[in-house]
Symmetry: C2
Subunit: 453 residues, 2 copies
């Protein structure tokens, strides 16, 4: 039954949209775009489109939808569309943004543009924006909304219910009201589901949860995500250092943080940005990739320089040139397994100074075992291939040495980098490969030089 | 103010726990464990502990908490603890599991054990378990709970409120009630927040949302996650092919899917399981890693075999041996950038058959630009190093050829693998490296053989 399958419906709409675009039936495109699709669908469509098609589609999006669509776009693409609006248009687009999305967006703009936008706003909006810009984007303050519904502890549930009924609607993701004192100090939360099963005559104080710890405004967004994941939260109150309520964070924004954090490790290890536009144009892509290739070229030249030290040995025993990539590549593979495991373990908070010793130990013995196993295999293969027992011994020993180096660097390097505030996912792989290349070539060709001298 | 910082509180408790463990004060450990920590904290602690400490802690966890703690553990570790329980203990532990968690857990056990556990259960529990086991773990059916609260469309909000008040509590994450027909057909949802601002005299039909599409029970968990992310859902109804309500999915379980899917790409690219136990013991770790090293060893030998074809050329011009890793490694780096981008783009549903042509084109021209740039740099360096203009030309040309091969394979390979139901994140990197090694060595040494002959 396809009518219950939202996914396939949306896909069908996307397909007919694609066909309409191809045939140039822009009116039809516009009708599908602004009639049938949600703002998040439109954002996804824009993100999945090459530049020319993307620009065409964006022009067809209804002015009234632009703001909402922008909220769902990734930073990279949103930044591009924003850069094409003037201050007046910007002010209009962001009028009905929630405060956390507004903060994200404004932090992407140059300071002069922010000032221009602020100038076009009325006093109330300006105040709201300035408040939100006070907190860094990657903290609880940057994630929070100010749309809280608060109640006092001494009123009855019945009064709360009547108070709520005076609203035309409640803010999205309202799973609990926040209980505050007369001075706006956080006291507890009142889950709506709990309120619904309570006797209307009881007071808020009797029903509310007080074991909920509010989130400090300066907590990092990653830690906020950990709290939400660990305690299955839908929304959580945010307080300042004195316990005053500032706003609340909702799960939809936390899900974005989780997705971005998880993507970050994957993309950084390939030298990409987690916010990378899949369909960025050639020039932009080339520029970014060139930097990464350049960095890796330096490490490749370092490896070559090491090989260069042993030119004479290679000239005597060409088999060394044939076999040497095996030692380097096995070290790189083993090292990146350890590195990835440690980076993930650090990201989810499992690995700390306290247990890294055990881990290093485990990786060491794992390398010994795997080193011995594969050294025998590679040595045997080398001996059979080149009919030379000596080369088997040399490559086996070099392999074990390189796997041990890989285990050491793979475990210690990410922790060291993090303590220096360098992103291990970005720099770890490059440094690791340099080490395993250098150690691999040095061990293999060095030993060969000794034994073939 | 540290008392509002749950994080630091928990960390403090963990630290004193660690100290108590070190000093062997087991009574104290037990008190901290069962008194101060939530089940999810205990699970995190277990996951962050090396095997011996982990076994010690698990023995100290209160019997009554074991079930809940197990729910928060990753499959790998949970499987280990479960394997140490007998059928009777298992049946006790899982008594108060939610149905989706129960399904996850049972699917980890051997069939004979499942049968034993079922035999110890009463009729009602057995029926619930068998129902849940009917759906694969990675579908909407495997994610759903059956704890729905349903209402009829023709009753008034007031009646609903009175009906709710008869409950002692509502299921966790209840943000809306589900409206069903007399025959249990899904009709719509009734958000609690909407109900609270409505006139109690209106009917459910007047207030309910009907634009919510229920989730088909066979939808994959990844697609369920996409729906939740795109439409900011907290819970969603699940229906069978005929539109009958089966249960509901809640955001807490979806967050786990998002985390696992994102981790999957990262871990698979290093040949690791996304559920990998960071603190697995040496033997288990070594066995798993050995397989991955063995697979990569095959590709390394293939590369060596290619070099072996050109032994005579290398013997004549040893500089080739020194420079050849540069060509292979630059190809590998460029290729893994493309591969990672495409794998991520496929995972979030941005890349399809429709736009892969554009992407291939973009990657081709990006490689041309970067190939030309770095070919000039590398050629110049090679000429200066070895005072031989010919080697500069050869390495420059080989570099461009290898970057083009990397772009082609990096773009097309993951789509091809996926169409064959092979996981691109797992197999992609190995195949890509084989190609860039083979093409790199072949192009460089082959051209050299032609020009130095």
């Amino acid at each position: 039954m396809s009518d219950i399958l939202e996914q396939s419906q949306a896909r069908q709409r996307l397909r007919s949209l694609g066909e309409a675009l191809d045939s140039g039936a822009l009116k039809q495109v516009s009708r599908i775009l602004n009639g049938g699709l949600s703002p998040s669908d439109i954002a996804h469509l824009l993100e999945s489109s090459p530049p020319r098609q993307r620009a065409l589609l964006w022009n067809l999006v209804d002015k009234s939808l632009e703001g909402e669509v922008l909220q769902y776009l990734s930073d990279d693409i949103r930044g591009y569309f924003l850069s094409q609006l003037n201050a007046q248009e910007l002010a209009e687009v962001i009028e009905d943004f929630e405060s956390d999305d507004l903060a994200d967006l404004l932090q992407q703009l140059p300071d002069t543009v922010i000032q221009e936008v602020l100038d076009t706003m009325d006093e109330q909006d300006r105040q709201r924006v300035e408040e939100v810009l006070a907190y860094p984007e990657d903290t609880a303050g940057g994630l929070m909304n100010t749309d809280t519904i608060t109640v006092r502890p001494d009123i009855s549930i019945d009064v709360v219910l009547r108070y709520l009924r005076r609203h035309r609607s409640l803010p999205p993701m309202t799973d609990s009201l926040i209980v505050v004192s007369r001075r706006d100090q956080f006291v507890g939360t009142l889950p709506i589901t709990k309120m619904l099963v309570s006797n209307p005559a009881t007071t808020v104080r009797e029903v509310m949860d007080t074991d909920v710890e509010p989130i400090p405004v300066s907590l990092s967004d990653t830690q906020v995500a950990t709290l939400f994941e660990r305690y299955d939260l839908i929304s959580a109150p945010v307080v300042d250092d004195d316990g005053n309520l500032l706003g609340r964070i909702t799960i939809d924004d936390v899900v974005d943080v989780i997705r971005e954090d998880a993507d970050h490790s994957l993309m950084s290890m390939a030298g990409l940005d987690e916010d990378e536009d899949t369909f960025a144009p050639v020039l932009k892509t080339s520029r970014r990739r060139a930097v990464w290739l350049g960095i890796n070229l330096v490490t490749a030249f370092i490896a070559s320089a090491v090989i260069g030290l042993f030119e004479d040995t290679i000239e005597k025993v060409v088999a060394l040139a044939v076999l040497m990539p095996i030692v380097a590549s096995m070290g790189g593979i083993a090292g990146s397994q350890t590195l990835t495991l440690v980076i993930r373990g650090m990201a989810v908070g499992q690995i700390t100074q306290d247990n890294v010793g055990w881990l290093l130990n485990r990786e060491f013995f794992t390398s010994v075992l795997n080193g011995l196993l594969w050294a025998v295999v590679v040595a045997a293969a080398a001996v059979i291939w080149f009919k030379d027992p000596l080369i088997g011994g040399v490559i086996g020993a070099a392999l074990i040495i390189n796997l041990l180096a890989a285990a050491l660097v793979g475990t210690v390097l990410p922790l060291f980098l993090k303590s220096r505030n360098i992103d291990p996912a970005l720099a770890g792989g490059v440094i690791l490969t340099t080490v395993t290349d250098v150690v691999g070539f040095m061990a293999f060709l060095g030993l060969a030089t000794v034994f073939y001298a």
